[in-house]
Amino acid sequence: MANSNGFDVVQTYRQILGDPDMSTPVATFKALAEFMKHSSASTMSEFMQTLDQASQQIKAAAYAETGSWSKYMRLTHEEPIQYQHKAQVAALAGMDLFLRFVARNSHDILDFETCKQNLIDRSELILQKAAVARDRAAATGAQFIRDNGLVLVHAYSRVLMRLLMIAGKTGKRFRVLVTEGRPTTEGERAVRELTEAGIEAQGVLDSAVAYIMNKVDMVLVGAEGVVENGGVINQIGSYQVALVAKAHGKPLYAVAESYKFVRLFPLSQYDLPTKTPRLLNFADKNLMHPLLSAQTSQRQREESTSSVDLDVDVSLADFVLSNPSVDYTPPEYITLLLTDLGNLTPSGVSDELIKLYL
């Protein structure tokens, strides 16, 4: 790893992400802020260059990150499989925003030391802002929950959990349906945490979303990234939920901190930057892990299955690794975005981004 003054930015990033309550964009902020403090660069251009390199390293790390899918990754041997991880978009959003925010006024001052200090101050500022963003988004969103309502939530999202907890504390009585959220099945965790907090919660199969939609009052989803047209990139299955909600005329609110806004404009599911050639590709079975490749005979497969200590079924791993982990919900399916900037219509996202980037 290239570093500055012996500081390993990727290591720091991973450490920070070790906190289960830490969201990916904020982790990138923190790692980059640390990097700036440790930077040994002596000129402005060198400083910006190394910062840029550091962010590229984080990006690469995020793409190789296994996150909660690590249990499937035991299948891999030496070389890590490149697969689509849902945090990639969030890391991208965090990096872009940080570089933008930090670099915005960096050219006004001539003296390097002052300038560097100024940048470090700015990075502190962005961290402070980020720290309150989730609570703020959750607090705004909590107002939308009605007494005696039935809320459908897709899988697990930190900001969504915060929102439901806040609503629960304010004395609203409501029930929550949580989708299972295959393949990570984090919905289970959400049900557990909600029940512990005294909120009535029930798990729902991903395939049962249409079944229960008629009774639902509102749908809440989180977001890995909010793209330029107000569409949302989120854990796989969100788009499906949104389509069903639309068909039943139920409002769907996406809850997101504004640091997840990202300058992407996907035209379709296949237009996401994190798409890998492996995703649902018939032709490229060879690219798959040796265990899963088409050339592997059934017998070989059995052998290797027995030789490796697996707690996961091979066919399930096949599913997971060759399937997308995020999908893109187009803005027409989203009623409102509940963010720390307030409640935005999807088209309002672009307006905010233009103000920031133009």
Binding site: E228, F265, L267, S350, L358
Partner: protein, 530 residues
Amino acid sequence: MSQPQDIPPRGSPRDNPVGSYEEQWLLGNSKQARRTSVAETDDKNRTSQSTATSTGKKGPKQPKPQTGPPNGVPPPKAAQGMTKAERRAIQERQRMEKEARVAAGLPGSAKKAAEQLSNPGASPRPASLASPNPSITSSPSLTKPAVEQVSKKAKAKTVEGVSPWLMHLEIPRKPETSSAGSKGLHPAMVTFGLWISEYKILGSNLRCAAMLETFKQACLSNSFLQSLTVIAQIIKDHRPPEAESFARHIQKHLDPHIAYLLNIRPMSLSMRECIRWIKKEISDIVETNPTLEDEGVRHRLIERIDHFIRDRITLADQLIVKNGLEKIQDGDVVLTYAKSTVVQKLLLEAKANGKQFRVIVVDSRPRLEGKTLLARLVKAGIDCTYVMISALSFVMRDVSKVILGAHALLSNGAMYSRVGTSLVAMSAKDLHIPVIVCCETFKFVNRTQVDSLVLNETADPDELVSTPLGDKNTLVNWKQESNLGVLNLLYDVTPSEYITVVVTEVGLIPCTSAPVIWREYNEELRKRQK
């Protein structure tokens, strides 16, 4: 407001206001009655409009010019589209009200009346050029000859049976080159005018840039790129009379040129935006630096125009191509309609970058602009299919992306573009195919339009009539058919819901953000001013 001028000849039977909706719009016969009813409507419109507008445009009609003092308030932007219809309506009424006019002490002929009135109208020249919201035709005195010219032609045209609801639309006309010199027009402007009137310069980018170049020469211009170029030339060559400063005089000097352009072919929305910009630049220069020498002002103005052409058109196109490239992937089947300079650049660049894709060029009569694009693409080795718009639904099912050029992007997110674009976008939307619009931010205009008829331009209907069928063509004598109208519209409006993304030089944005972009740019201007 000024009542006397608005007396419609209610006495005569043909001017009876039509009673019902059906009578007004649906009956095919009595054209006379229909036209009059439009004139009536225009009357009402006119009264509701500001007095400032009426002095400028309705001079010929007014028995007493002093009834509408020009407060120096520029006519509202919306009036722009209306004025020609009004002029025509006025002319119509003039004919009918000849007696009334004579009674008011004016000459019987409309032209003489206009001439007589143009002089009083000229004296209170509005200071609108220096105002923050200059309008294109802010000078009543200088547009007057143009008004006359227009109305003369309009009169001739009404004989050809234009539907009443289309009478406000521009009618194509040939520029009068003979009289151009006498108006002190710059030769570059005259050449430019001829070009655009014959559709030799087509496409808003080219038009605007050429306009600015010409303006540079004499300080006047037309089509956007062309217009810009033309303007630049005008400015370059302009020498003010002794007593006046360049900055003050150039504004006056530009006005007849602008009027001339307006007269030849209605200005594109982007050209208007461009002219508004240039007038603002002129007044800015005067305001910010009153002591500047003439040469300095000229130099600065030319520099600004050059920068505008470079930043907002040339470089913008390069950035759009760069941004658009991300959206063309291997295996794509791209459908495009008619011809757009920037779309052509994008497709050629994508090919140069080694992307494997196919292009379907959809074209339409009578202009067949797609052929030029097709020739370039084929030459570059891109696999192409060429179809007429009538085969659209057939080819659409193979398409993975639709890429379109725009003439202007309106504040409500709608796109104003070559007629037929809306149809293409709609059928793409129907099949959930992404519609990508490439549009420079200078074409974003602060105006809202929900249908294609409020503002549009018509071309010569004969273009539609002439077909290879020759004499067998049943439409040959269409002008004699009393119950037939031929409409050759040039533009249409594509609603925002059909547009997936707009590729601009500032990135990919949803079309609903058009007003934000417009505002940002105008705020930038304002800031720079301070």
